[in-house]
Structures are given as structure tokens and as C-alpha cells.
């Protein structure tokens, strides 16, 4: 009896998992689904037409071309592909196996210039799991702003290692099955600001500010004296040539500084520094941002936050609370939601958004915070939205995408339908069959 039961189970699983990527010319019409756009706004009973990977219609009552494959969309929700906005997905496989983990770079000569896009592995087993969870874009973020639990107390030494203040340049990747998944490297420069920066700067936050200011001054001097520098005719700089070059776009205001900053007082120092140095800023973490939300909004600085942080795990996040996202949103800050920086958990980002909603963030804003908003911030082109004439980069969900009981049923990346097979599902199926 058990064997028959198992075979029945497997039949169902194979049927679900067996959807093959769109091959050749095909038109798909999803009918009667709730359509969510990049602003998070829902339209019920919509028809979404995807022709040869291009969205040709996305609206209620759109005409279905002859010969289209009809997909029942009743009860389904179609959203843009989701973003995880700060992750090490693509550059790590097993966190504690350091040969497989490129996310712990710490080289004093190449800190700003560290460009993790060269380490991205499109064949990582983390990517299909994230993709099957509806994630189609990720920002590979070298700064550690969103660490979490996974067994740090198992005997690892607590505290910070000697690492450079600057942590490198985030890269935007897509999560489609393809050999080239780096969409846009060098989005800006990431660095910590606060307890962790104090530790690597020599024991005080104030030192990290001094180091940052000195670096910016050096970059300006270097930019004006490149010729002399190459002849060995300038004063000594605090950064290597590679790092000076990498910081140039930030000094020119062309690329943002991604600051992992937590304490309200530190956020205010960061805002002041950005004003004084004329820098573009993105705040990451910002657990105490709710207390200075008005100032963040007035500065026009976006925040990337993990809404579930609500414990005083460190003194600098003593006032972390679950309605941080809601309060920042209410104050007019551009809020982007993300989850753990550990790429194994990229698929959890939608539950982070759901929790933000449970604690007061409007649902459409929370959806925008994992689709259209990060797409705009990172310059992700047509991703993060469902736009007619653009390649399909979207997910059809079995229901509300923020609910853990709901799964992604069809995923398109860059116009190509993706398999929802994962290594985890291969293991599950092997041992169900046994």
C-alpha cells in the first residue's frame, strides 16, 4: 500500500516539476489572474500574454491570440520577478567550506576595488532554489549588513576579524539558468558604518569616519593629479591605485555608497557626511531608522532593510522594531525590503515583506519594495515590472505571493520560462521513491 501511495505522490510531483522551459515560438495566455505591477498595485481578472518570451499584453480583457496555450489564472497571482537586494547568492555554496565561499574577501590592497562579479558561479545550487521561490534578480552585496543566526554559536569565535573598512562593489545578477548572469557589476561601493566599522578602523566609529574622509580626499587629489601619480610624483595615499580608481564614481556622485548603518545617531552622522562630501547614499540595515525617518526622507536617501529584526542583538540596534518598515514608509522614505544576506535563504524575502505588512506596511508598498523599487534603484532595466513589449520576467503564484503556504508555479526570467527543479527537490523525490 505504501509503495502505491508513494508512486501516486511522485506522479503528482513529476507532473508539477516537469514543466520545461519555453522552447521556440510559443504564445502563453494566463487568463483571469490577479496582476501585480512593479508599484505593487493589483488588478484582478487580468490576462497576461507572453509571445516568444515577450509580454504582449497584461490587462483585463486582453485579446487572446489564436493558437495560444491557455493557462488558468483563476486564484493565481502574477507578479514581477522578486529581488533580493543584499545577498551573497552566486558567490557561495557551503558557507563553512571556505573553498566554496567567495563572500569573505579581506585584502587590504583590494578593498574598494573588490568586484565579486568575477566570482559569480551560475551553476551554484543556491540559484535554482531562489528561482523556484520566485526570485529573479539579486544584488551580490559584499558588505555584511544582514547576517543572521545559522549557527554562529556552534563554536565559531565571536567578534570581527581584521578586515578592511571598504568591502567592495555590489553587482546585480539575474537568476535565470544561463552561463552569463551578471547583469551589472560595480553598482557602487559598500562599507559598514557603526560597531563593525569601528572594530576594523581601530576601535572607534570616529576613526572609521576619519578613514573614510581621508580616502575621499585622496581620491579627489588623485583624480586631479593622475599624471603625476603615475610618475610617482604625488604624496602617499591611504588607498591603493585600484581602490582609488574604484572610489572615483562615488566621489563624482555617479554611484552610491551602500552604508551598512544601524544606530539612529550613526544614521544622522552618515546623512551629514553625505551632505558635506556630496555623496549619493543608500542606507542598509537602518534598524533604528524609524526614529530619524523624517531626516532620511528629507535627504532623499533610500533604505534597504530587513523588517524582522526586532531584538537588541547589538547595542547599535537596541531600538529595532517590527514596524520600522511601516514607519519609514509613512515618513516618505523609499523603502526596499530584503532578508538574510545568506544566499541560501534568498527565497525568504517574500516572507520578510509579508511580515512588514503584518506590522503595518501597506501591502502594495511591500510588494513594490521587493520588485519595482529595487529595480529602479539598481537600474535593472525592464526587470521588476511587467511591461508590454519587454521580456517576461515574472512569476505566476498559486495565490498570495507573501504567504508561506503558496508556491511559485511558473517563473520567467529574461523571457525564458525556467524549470522549478532544485537539488532539494531531486533529493526529496529520490527518498520518497525509496
Amino acid at each position: 500500500m505504501m509503495r502505491g501511495f508513494k508512486q501516486m505522490l511522485l506522479g503528482g510531483a513529476v507532473l508539477l516539476a516537469g514543466l520545461s522551459p519555453t522552447a521556440g515560438a510559443e504564445t502563453i495566455a494566463i487568463q483571469g489572474a490577479t496582476l501585480v505591477n512593479g508599484s505593487g498595485v493589483s488588478t484582478p481578472d487580468a490576462t497576461i500574454i507572453i509571445k516568444d518570451g515577450i509580454v504582449t499584453a497584461a490587462a483585463p480583457g486582453a485579446a487572446v491570440p489564436a493558437g495560444a496555450t491557455l493557462v488558468e489564472g483563476k486564484g493565481k497571482v502574477v507578479t514581477p520577478g522578486l529581488f533580493v537586494s543584499s545577498s551573497d547568492i552566486g558567490i557561495e555554496e557551503v558557507s563553512a567550506v571556505k573553498e566554496t565561499n567567495d563572500s569573505n574577501a579581506a585584502n587590504p590592497r583590494i578593498s574598494v576595488a573588490y568586484d565579486p562579479s568575477y566570482a559569480v558561479n551560475p551553476a551554484s545550487s543556491l540559484i535554482p532554489l531562489a528561482r523556484a521561490g520566485g526570485i529573479t534578480r539579486a544584488v551580490v552585496m559584499p558588505a555584511v549588513a544582514f547576517g543572521d543566526g545559522a549557527h554562529i554559536h556552534d563554536g565559531e569565535t565571536a567578534g570581527h576579524v581584521d578586515e578592511p573598512l571598504f568591502q567592495g562593489q555590489p553587482a546585480l545578477i539575474h537568476l535565470g539558468a544561463a552561463p552569463d548572469i551578471v547583469v551589472k557589476p560595480r553598482l557602487g561601493v559598500a562599507l559598514p558604518f557603526g560597531e563593525s566599522a569601528a572594530s576594523s578602523a581601530g576601535g572607534s566609529r570616529a576613526l572609521s569616519v576619519a578613514i573614510l574622509k581621508a580616502a575621499l580626499e585622496d581620491v579627489r587629489h588623485y583624480a586631479a593629479n593622475k599624471g603625476a601619480y603615475n610618475q610617482g610624483g604625488t604624496r602617499e595615499y591611504s588607498l591603493s591605485r585600484l581602490d582609488l580608481e574604484a572610489l572615483l564614481p562615488v566621489v563624482r556622485g555617479e554611484a552610491p555608497l551602500f552604508l551598512a548603518v544601524h544606530r539612529a545617531a550613526d544614521i544622522r552622522v552618515a546623512l551629514r557626511l553625505a551632505r558635506e562630501e556630496k555623496l549619493r547614499l543608500v542606507l542598509m540595515g537602518a534598524e533604528e531608522g524609524w526614529m530619524v525617518a523624517g531626516e532620511i526622507a528629507a535627504a532623499g536617501v533610500p533604505v534597504i532593510i530587513k523588517p524582522t529584526t526586532n531584538l537588541p542583538g547589538r547595542f547599535e540596534i537596541q531600538h529595532a522594531r517590527l514596524d520600522n518598515a511601516a514607519l519609514l514608509e509613512k515618513a516618505g522614505v523609499v523603502v526596499i525590503l530584503t532578508g538574510s544576506a545568506d544566499g541560501h535563504y534568498a527565497n525568504q524575502v517574500r516572507f520578510q515583506a509579508g511580515t512588514a505588512v503584518a506590522y503595518g506596511m501597506p501591502r502594495d508598498k511591500a510588494l513594490a519594495a521587493i520588485t519595482g523599487r529595487p529595480a529602479a534603484l539598481f537600474g535593472a532595466g525592464s526587470a521588476g515590472q511587467i511591461a508590454v513589449g519587454k521580456p517576461a520576467d515574472l512569476v505566476m503564484w498559486g495565490g498570495d505571493p507573501l504567504e508561506p503556504m503558496v508556491l511559485a508555479e511558473r517563473v520567467f526570467v529574461n523571457g525564458v520560462e525556467q524549470s522549478l527543479k532544485t537539488r532539494q527537490r531531486a533529493l526529496e523525490e529520490r527518498y520518497l521513491k525509496r
Binding site: H151, H153, A158, R314, Q318, F351, R425, Y431, L432
Partner: protein
């Protein structure tokens, strides 16, 4: 407070129960020893007299009579009751059923449109021993100085002011097993607590809950000690370490048994000399006598299989494998040996032995008829255990396992109660059990659902409609925050 005589009585009872459970209890209660040699041997020197040296001082406030009406009730026993009523009297569940008559004088809580479940139990938590803020001074969960630290007790590290307890309460958690870390083969004793305000661990301790012994397989012990250039540096040395310790524990147990026998037969002033008490071996021999439950951190299927053989070799039982990311590979073996597993839905890949973790792990174990638990091991995840269970259920149902909500709730209520040995006291909504109950504002597996009311022994410890004016933790009390940045001093 309880009289000294009363405590002797409790100790005697505990021994009696332990004897029943194993069929070979030590059988010499403290009461019998109260005679002539009481002066000679202090309780702390006699293993049998000192069974409960840090006793529970938890006393629930009177709950009165409460009727929760009109809810969708998941009982934890696998049943789902629509329009259900739960009646609480004097801290106990009195009745559960559809549309029950409300007894006269009951305080009525209209729970129409809401859901009711047993209080959530997290059987793997480090709250209190790795308290927030996670500064070095609060790092009290791992005694990484020897591969066998069976002599340490987690309760002696528990800081009741950890703000994590209050956050977990808001997530519906009423009972927790607090464990030492996993650096050692034998990490020490766990303690089971009720999630109540306390000034010391005794005021939280779950009355009558057995102790657990934390054991650890695999990478952690061999890394921590191998890196120090000492054993164990490999998995085979891990196993040699367990076996050596059990052999010593058995010898220790024999010594004490012989002493008690001699003492019973001794006449007049010819009293035997007691053996020297050894806290490490005492905990281990408590496992051999069935009084202490083995809570075994173990990820891989092959290692869990070996650990079940070790248990057979020395005549004890593994109560539960914790983390158990590969449990789905050995569901038949787990079922056969009646071993629970406690795991996550979404954690995997943080180290080699966790690489084969799958989201349907709990669902597959459950469907195969073994005992599945979702645990947290984390101060944030503990606040979201129903959502974590929902992920395991969703993936299980993707595979066609057909898991229902009334089953999955057992992964965070009845099953952890069983795994930590309190299933006769809490974990389900059945008459006579402690009234540990959560009223949710919707389906608890929904991401949007929050706990409205959390009862422990019938006393509302959290009421979302009337949140406490002050934080529960002393650490969070009186800390300046918003008033600095948003008050009169701010422009």
C-alpha cells in the same frame, strides 16, 4: 513557600515516577535516608537525595474560569474543530469541543473568526544562554573546554532578562527547552522552562519536566577539539568518545547501586562509605536509568543511524535528533526506534553536514509515521514557528503528501512536548492539561496572522489589545530612544 518536608515528598514522587518509566529505578528515596545518617551525609553528597537541587519555583497566578468561544480550534491531537469552544478552569483545560455550553461565571472571550492552538513549544532554543545583546559577556551557551561537559547545566547560564523571551511570547511560544551549544560530544543538561517573567531560572522552570542531555555529532566537536590538536578530530573519535563515556557511566551507576544496597542492609553504626559524587557521570547515568532524555544534535542520516546503534549498545534511548537535516533519508529507522526529529524548513547549506537539507524534511518524516518537530535554534525564527511549519507543509504538499493544518500544528506543539517529555502536561488542548493556549487573529500559518492572546496555565501572559506599558526585560527598561531624536530637543 513550600516546606522542606514538601520538597522531600516531591523528590520521592519524582523517583517513583522515574522508576516506573524505566522499570529499574534506583528505588532508594531521600525519605528513607532521613534516619540516623542524615547528619553524616549532606544532600549534595548523595546522588539520590539531591535529585532536584534547583527546583522549579514557578507558581502560576489563579486563572479563574475562562471560555474561548467560536474559534477554529487545532487541538494538537490532529483534530480541527469549527465553532470550537475551549474552557479553562484553574489553569487547566476543562473541555474542548464545538459549540460547548459556557459554564456560569466564566469570562467569555469571543474568538469568532479567530484560531486557537496549543501554546507553541520550541524544543531547541538558546534564549537566556546566548542572550541579547549578543556581546561576549552574554556568551554562556557552550563550555568549549572539554569534549565531555555532561556536568554543566544550561540553567546555570540562563539570564531571564533576555529580551528574546518576550519576543518569543508574542510569537505564541509558551514552553522552551533551553540547551547548551553543540561544541562538545556531551554539552550538558538542558532545562525546560515556561515563558514567564522571572528573576531567576527556578521561577521559570517547567514543573516536573525531565532534564535533557545535549549531545552533538559531526562537524562541531571534531572541529573545535581537532583544531586544538586533541581528540576528537574525526567522526570516528566522536563515536569512541561517546562509547567510552557510557562505559564509565555504567560503572558509576553500579557503584552507587551497590552503596545503596549495602546501606539498606547495614545495621547500627556499620554504615557504608558513599562513593564520591561525580556530576558528569551522574548526568550520564541519569540517561542510562531513563530519567534524562538524550537530545542529540545530529545532521547526517549515516550519523543518526550510528547514534541509534550506540544507544542500543548501551541500553538507552535517543529522545530526539536535533537539526536532523537528513532525517528524510531514514524515516523508517526513526519510526522503528521511536525517535523524534527537530528540524527547520528553510535552513540548509551553512556547513557541509547541512548541505542536503530540504524544505519537506518534516513533512516527509511525518508522512512516514515518525515524529517530526519544527524548531528554531534562533532568537528570530522562534517568533515565526507556525510560518516555518507552513513552509514545510507547502513543500510536502507540492510533493503530494497532503499535509493538513491540523497535522502540521503538531510539529510545534504535541510532538515537541513528546520529545522533551512533557506530553502528559502540555502540547495539546485536552482536558486536564495545562491551559497553555494561543488565540490567533487568523490562520496561524498565514504570514499576516499574529497572536492575540497567549495563555500560560490559563493566565494571559500576552494580550495584543492591551500590550504591556513597559518592556518585560530589565535591560530594555528606561533606555532612551525616540524621545531623544523626536522630542523637544530635536528641531
Amino acid at each position: 513557600m513550600r516546606s522542606r518536608g514538601g520538597r522531600w515528598l516531591v523528590t520521592g514522587l519524582a523517583l517513583l515516577l522515574a522508576g516506573c518509566a524505566t522499570g529499574q529505578g534506583t528505588g532508594h528515596s531521600g525519605g528513607k535516608d532521613k534516619g540516623g545518617d542524615k547528619q553524616a551525609l549532606a544532600p549534595g553528597l548523595d546522588a539520590a537525595s539531591s535529585r532536584d537541587p534547583f527546583p522549579s519555583r514557578y507558581k502560576a497566578a489563579p486563572s479563574g474560569l475562562v471560555a474561548l468561544t467560536g474559534a477554529t480550534v487545532l487541538t494538537g491531537t490532529g483534530a480541527r474543530i469549527e465553532n470550537g469552544t475551549v474552557i479553562i478552569r484553574d489553569g487547566r483545560i476543562e473541555a474542548v469541543g464545538a459549540g460547548l455550553p459556557v459554564p456560569a461565571g466564566a469570562t467569555i472571550v469571543d474568538a469568532a473568526g479567530r484560531w486557537i492552538t496549543p501554546g507553541i513549544i520550541d524544543m531547541h532554543s538558546h534564549l537566556g544562554v546566548y542572550a541579547s545583546p549578543a556581546v561576549e559577556a552574554h556568551s554562556d551557551g557552550n563550555e568549549m573546554t572539554d569534549p565531555n561537559t555532561a556536568q554543566v547545566w544550561a540553567e546555570h547560564s540562563v539570564w531571564p532578562q533576555d529580551p528574546g523571551f518576550e519576543r518569543a511570547l508574542r510569537g505564541g511560544v509558551t514552553t522552551l527547552q533551553l540547551l547548551p551549544g553543540s561544541a562538545n560530544l556531551f554539552g550538558g543538561r538542558s532545562v525546560t522552562v515556561k515563558n514567564v517573567t522571572a528573576r531567576n531560572v527556578m521561577e521559570m522552570k517547567f514543573p516536573g519536566a525531565p532534564y535533557g542531555l545535549k549531545m552533538a555529532c559531526g562537524e562541531n566537536p571534531k572541529r573545535v577539539y581537532g583544531d586544538k590538536g586533541r581528540a576528537p578530530g574525526s567522526r570516528m573519535a566522536n563515536v569512541a568518545g561517546y562509547r567510552t563515556a557510557w562505559i564509565e557511566a555504567a560503572e558509576y551507576r553500579r557503584k552507587w547501586d551497590a552503596y545503596y544496597k549495602e546501606k539498606q542492609e547495614a545495621k547500627g553504626d556499620k554504615q557504608p562509605d558513599p562513593p564520591k559524587r561525580d556530576l558528569q557521570l551522574e548526568t550520564l547515568s541519569g540517561v542510562l536509568s531513563g530519567d534524562i532524555l538524550v537530545q542529540n544534535h545530529c545532521y547526517r542520516a549515516d550519523e543518526m543511524s550510528v547514534m541509534m546503534e550506540v544507544a542500543r549498545e548501551f541500553g538507552y534511548r535517543v529522545a530526539a535528533f536535533h537539526h536532523a537535516t537528513e532525517a528524510y533519508k531514514i524515516t523508517d529507522l526513526l519510526k522503528q526506534d521511536n525517535v523524534c526529529i527537530a528540524t527547520w524548513a528553510h535552513w540548509w547549506g551553512f556547513k557541509m553536514e547541512a548541505y542536503d537539507g530540504v524544505p519537506a524534511n518534516a513533512a516527509m518524516v511525518h508522512r512516514a509515521g515518525a515524529c517530526a518537530v519544527i524548531h528554531s535554534d534562533d532568537e528570530t525564527l522562534i517568533q515565526y514557528l507556525p510560518k516555518e511549519a507552513a513552509q514545510a507543509m507547502a513543500e510536502g504538499n507540492y510533493l503530494g503528501l497532503g499535509i493538513k493544518e491540523e497535522e502540521a500544528i503538531g510539529w510545534i506543539t504535541a510532538n515537541p512536548a513528546k520529545a522533551i517529555g512533557v506530553q502528559d502536561k502540555t502540547g495539546t488542548l485536552e482536558p486536564g492539561k495545562m491551559a497553555d493556549v494561543v488565540v490567533w487573529n487568523g490562520n496561524p500559518f498565514s504570514i499576516y496572522t499574529l497572536a492575540d492572546l497567549v495563555y500560560i496555565d490559563g493566565v494571559p501572559q500576552f494580550d495584543r489589545a492591551h500590550p504591556p506599558a513597559e518592556p518585560r526585560s530589565d535591560f530594555e527598561l528606561g533606555q532612551a530612544g525616540a524621545e531623544i531624536f523626536q522630542g523637544k530637543g530635536a528641531k
